[in-house]
């Protein structure tokens, strides 16, 4: 087999890294919600999709304002977060007393509903958002060109990760959230408003998905079906890294990004199979994920 040009390999690997950061944003929200509430949120991909569509919408409204792209990203992600909190507060909450299957199926119902709502509002056309003026153009790396925007994403991912790590491990809020993951009854008995905490957690989780969708809009087509495609990858990331494990999710996203971008060079037809085989192996050998802890549920 001919080895490809090393500089090409590096660019390909950087592409994988960019993709990993989006996966991390979505999967960390998914993992947070699962870790704290035990709800596997199928609709997380739909929230990501809505983030992208809303960004397109806001960009087309604010196109003349200075820094319009960043405002659009902020508003779109907050809009998605508000929707997430609304869903938790008025619907999902009533299903906590039921079996897990009911919660799972409800989030699947949301997938169906939100995908058609997006079609009703925006149609089936493909949209794209142009990159913000500051980040147009590319940087030369070993004779190959790599977009500036992607570089910013690569740095933004770990930044968000560090921020959340800090909040979860070093603040009172974070301690409360971690306590809720372990034992919600005791936490409630200690005087914490667990219901409100859950809404907040869902808000944050949905915000992360919305942010992922908003930031991906300049480099990926906004189309119906992007929800179903991304959710499976987010599941795989969370399973590989460990459900509810924060750094596990980060690791899982990095692995998936590289397997996709480099696997395509080795066996273009089978790069997807690698991913699923990896998921199967992790589930068989360490069901709680590479960095997760066994759950006693």
């Amino acid at each position: 087999m001919n080895l490809p040009d090393p500089s090409f390999l590096i660019i390909q690997s950087l592409n994988g890294l960019t993709y990993a950061m989006f996966l991390f944003l979505i999967a960390s929200g998914l993992s947070l919600i699962f870790g704290v509430m035990g709800v596997l949120n199928f609709a997380h991909g739909s929230l990501y999709m809505l983030g992208a569509y809303l960004t397109h919408q806001f960009v087309s409204w604010f196109i003349d304002a200075p820094g319009y792209f960043w405002w659009a990203v902020l508003l779109a992600s907050l809009g998605v977060a508000a929707l997430g909190a609304f869903i938790e507060r008025f619907f999902l909450r009533h299903l906590y007393i039921r079996e897990e299957l009911n919660q799972l199926l409800f989030t699947y119902a949301l997938v169906l509903i939100l995908s058609d709502v997006a079609k009703l509002i925006w149609g089936t056309d493909q949209f794209s958002v142009s990159r913000p003026a500051i980040l147009k153009g590319a940087v030369e790396i070993l004779g190959q060109y790599f977009p500036k925007y992607n570089i910013v994403i690569i740095f933004l991912g770990p930044l968000v990760a560090l921020l959340f790590w800090f909040i979860l491990l070093r603040t009172r809020w974070g301690r409360t959230i971690r306590a809720a993951a372990l034992d919600r009854e005791t936490l409630g008995a200690l005087g914490v408003n667990v219901n409100r905490l859950f809404t907040v957690v869902f808000f944050i989780g949905a915000w992360l998905a919305g942010l992922g969708g908003a930031l991906v809009s300049p480099i990926s087509a906004i189309v119906p079906g992007m929800d179903v495609e991304v959710i499976i990858n987010a599941f795989i990331v969370v399973v590989i890294g460990g459900m509810g494990s924060f750094w596990g999710t980060f690791l899982g996203a990095l692995i998936l990004g590289q397997v996709y971008s480099l696997g395509i060079l080795i066996l273009p037809r089978l790069s997807m199979v690698f991913i699923y085989i990896l998921m199967v192996l992790v589930l068989i050998i360490r069901p709680w994920g590479l960095l997760g802890r066994p759950l006693q549920r």
């Binding site: 009533h94 897990e100 409800f106």
Partner: protein, 312 residues
């Protein structure tokens, strides 16, 4: 059989008679929909063997349905095998793959079990999707003929009806046997079942295999019914759809999933002629079901009937 079962027998007989008379309407639409419902009814009941009776949430049941469809179609068309052999081989191969995948799946519990069934079904999907030379990939495997002697929609309808009825009777017998009681015990409390000396994993694996077998038979029928097999029937939303049928009808009654399949497929057919937004409607149905009728359609009516009986 308990006394209650005997009471239902005439009703069941009447329903079966009506179902058998469907082709007399000479409506191609009715025969088409009827065949579709029968096939998916069997598929949903085979899933419910795991879901409602053993307490295992399989999120990858489409894998066995698809394996059955591809096996039967490929053997008939590429290996020119006669239908009877291809049909049996499809079931056997479905059971065999369920044995291999299930061996790993039953070692896990709850959400991890669901995730592993999903992962395995996605692997099967990728293989069907990417192996163009064998399966036709995304373009599907087309031109699957009706078998000899079953070469009309009506004849195939009766064949499907026979297969489905025999399969349902067999599954029902298995569930009413001591074997079936053990499955229910496992559903109620796996740990305690283990304590009374029952090999829980073994029984779960056998249930998984039986379920895979009947799912594959349903899939084999479906491939011939459509004269083609597409990888879509293996993709994860297909697994979600059969779960919805089961829940819609009611997972705690034996024929509930058949009712669920019937209602869902009928609605889809009707709605499709008015609007393309079927997923939206299905989503709304599913959501209201979860909130207002957690026992499904059959569960709801059983509730009503038992309330009426208690009153006087």
């Amino acid at each position: 059989m308990s006394r209650q079962d005997w009471l239902w027998l005439p009703v069941l007989f009447l329903v079966l008679l009506l179902v058998a008379l469907v082709p007399l309407t000479e409506s191609r639409y009715a025969v088409f929909l009827g065949t579709d419902i029968l096939i998916h009814g069997l598929f949903a009941v085979s899933l419910n063997l795991l879901l409602g009776y053993t307490g295992l949430v399989s999120f990858g049941q489409a894998a066995y349905f698809g394996i059955g469809a591809y096996t039967c179609a490929l053997l008939m068309k590429k290996a020119a095998l006669n239908f009877a052999l291809a049909f049996v081989a499809a079931g056997a191969f479905g059971a065999l793959s369920a044995l291999v995948f299930g061996f790993f799946c039953v070692r896990l519990t709850k959400i991890y079990f669901a995730m592993l069934t999903l992962a395995f079904s996605q692997i099967v999907w990728v293989i069907a999707f990417k192996w163009n030379s064998l399966t036709g990939g995304d373009n599907g495997f087309v031109g699957v003929p009706f078998p000899q002697n079953l070469d009309s929609a009506v004849r195939f309808y009766y064949f499907t009806l026979a297969v489905v009825v025999v399969s349902l009777v067999l599954i029902r017998q298995a569930l009413n046997s001591p074997f079936g009681r053990i499955l229910t015990t496992i559903r109620e409390n796996p740990e305690r079942t283990e304590f009374i000396g029952i090999n829980v994993k073994l029984f779960q694996l056998i249930a998984f295999m039986i379920s895979g077998f009947f799912s594959a038979l349903a899939g084999a029928l479906f491939g011939i019914f459509n004269h083609s097999v597409f990888p879509d029937i293996l993709f994860w939303p297909a697994s979600a759809e059969v779960l919805i049928m089961t829940i819609l009808g009611g997972m705690y009654s034996f024929l509930g999933p058949v009712v669920g399949a019937g209602v869902l497929l009928y609605l889809r057919m009707e709605v499709a002629s008015y609007t393309e937004y079927w997923p939206l409607i299905l989503g709304l149905i599913l959501a209201s079901l979860l909130f207002f009728f957690p026992g499904g359609i059959v569960g709801f009516f059983q509730d009503r009937v038992s309330r009426l009986r208690r009153k006087p």
